[in-house]
């Protein structure tokens, strides 16, 4: 039992807890804030994986930018608490629930059956020097992963133009 394992357990548990809260919270704001918390705990897990830069980008992009926009929209619409007339059981809900549960069972079984890795590394010995640092990531992104990187930039441009087109007053 080393400290990494303890931390991982804590972060994993907290991630799951706050992710659950995202779904079960009554008000939209609470959901959004739970999602922010989820991102933070995920960032913690990234740090445990020696992906420091990814962790910081997780906070910067997801918690700092995207969720702020979510929050902004929720506040702007001033969404109140959810006012459904209680859970109703319809056929589609039962089928959907059953399908989701089935998928969960399958996935759990699949992951359960993964054989344990034969070798384990912990701490600094597991990663090359410079792993997860900004220069290392930059070099890999602009050479080896250039094609997906450029595709992502195209994706962002398309999403921006698309969002403007959709949000524009009627054409």
């Amino acid at each position: 039992m080393n400290i990494e394992l303890v931390l991982f357990g804590a972060f994993a548990l907290l991630t799951l807890l706050s992710a659950g809260l995202v779904i079960f919270a009554k008000s939209a704001i609470s959901s959004a804030m739970s999602l922010v918390a989820t991102f933070f705990f995920l960032a913690g897990i990234y740090v445990l994986l020696w992906a420091h830069t990814v962790a910081v980008l997780q906070v910067l992009v997801y918690a700092g930018a995207i969720m702020v926009l979510f929050l902004f929209v929720i506040m702007l619409l001033n969404l109140g608490e959810e006012t459904s007339a209680g859970p109703r059981l319809t056929l589609s809900r039962i089928l959907g629930g059953a399908a989701a549960a089935g998928l969960l069972v399958v996935l759990v079984m699949v992951i359960w059956r993964i054989p344990a890795p034969t070798t384990t590394f912990t701490g600094a010995q597991a990663v090359a020097s410079g792993f997860g640092t900004l220069p290392a990531i930059g070099q890999v992104i602009y050479t080896q992963w250039l094609l997906p990187f450029e595709a992502v930039s195209l994706l962002l441009l398309v999403a921006m133009v698309g969002a403007v087109v959709v949000a524009k007053s009627r054409i």
């Binding site: 704001i29 910067l60 902004f72």
Partner: protein
Amino acid sequence: MKRTLTMLFWFGVMFAHFVGIMALAYALGGLVEGVLPGGSRLTNLAILMVAVVMGIASLLTVAERKWSSLMQNRIGPNRARINLPILKDSALVGIPHFLADGMKMLFKEDFLPATANKLLYNLGPMLAFAPVFALYAVVPSGPTVQVFGHTVDMVVATPDFGLLYVFAIASLAVYGTSLAGWSSNNKFALLGGVRAASQMISYEVALGLSLVGLMMAFSTVQLPAFVGNVTNELGLGNAATGQARYLWEGKIGGFDIGLPAWGFLLQPLGFFLFFAAAFAETKRAPFDTPEGESEIIGYFVEYSGMKFGLFMISEFVEIVVLSGLIVVLFFGGYHLPFGGEWLSNLALMREHGWLYGTILGTVFWAKVMFFVWLQLAIRWTFPRFRYDQIQSLGWKILLPIGLFNVFATGALVLWDPSLRALAVFGLLQIGLLIALTTSSALKSEEGHGGHGHGHDAHGHDAHGHGLPAHGHAAHADTHSGAHSGAAAASH
């Protein structure tokens, strides 16, 4: 004459404090490092962040009121006095007021609106304060020196992603304000929260973009690397790096002089963008629509006591942190503009590293104090922007200029890696800015002189826009003043 002497006296007091604190910080760091390797980071945390930053921030609450009264030809706060015989019932230029304010905050009723969301309401002030405060962790406030045989550096943390930490943490500050606005369940607070969120999101883009040029010029994102070190610092024989090196260098005797590679000279555009965007992030006038003291009071309208105090103090902490960042990124950090090499190679400095550190640390805080003053001056000089003006400034002016700056800088750095071309370009920009400012000032004077209808288009540009209907008298109240009025009304 008496006034000048008083000012000089208080300046002396201030610098004596900085010298003392920096000496203490280095000495303590050296001692702790002997007991616990790496422990100097903890003493840095305690001294730099808790003592210095928080100390300056609390004193700023008084300084802001004093400065505003000076600009408005008033006396300002002078009622709080400490009745000790040696002080002869002196007002101590109003300094005891921050103690009085603190006590007032602590003993006020901690009011919770009946319909507020309790958890988020309580979380709001913490989320507003914590990120701002944590930002200072990566700001290097003094050089790395040997004290009692141990290496001591004057920074709390040096993550390899440096500036990304700044962006990441700064972007979290918006949660505090918007949550406070939403959870109070008050229309005005919600308005303030929504305004704060939109404003901060908009300016984060320009904020990030404004520093890209600087990152390219110095090819780093780590703040200590931006500051760099002078040639042969303390006899270590290393070459000059970062902003401590000279673009063009000459020597007068042993004294080195030249044009340092300060960020401001390389990236004047980046500096102005960063300053404007960061100023908007602090939500202070002229970007104070989220507070809107004269109309909606702001996202903290329902808060009282120390919870309100946290919002207020976080604003002042932001001022200090922003000044620190500006100094580190654009104004050479703790380095002197010239003579740094000469100073670091004096025998006295080589022998006593802590002395060198203390001197440069004081230089750093002197620079920081200048920018703190500048921010106070701006806050009490400019009229408030309208909300739509804030948005169009962010998206239509700062963002395109920032993009232009990135491309221009990239091209120039590629063309001339010695950065001299970039410096020439930067100097040209500064010259252009000065010329533009002077010419528009001259034009507007012409516009106002003599003829009654002299209000031409240019005059309008310089003066007409954005003057809100309410004058400065409405602003004269400090936050706490405006707030206690509101709080009293709501009770």
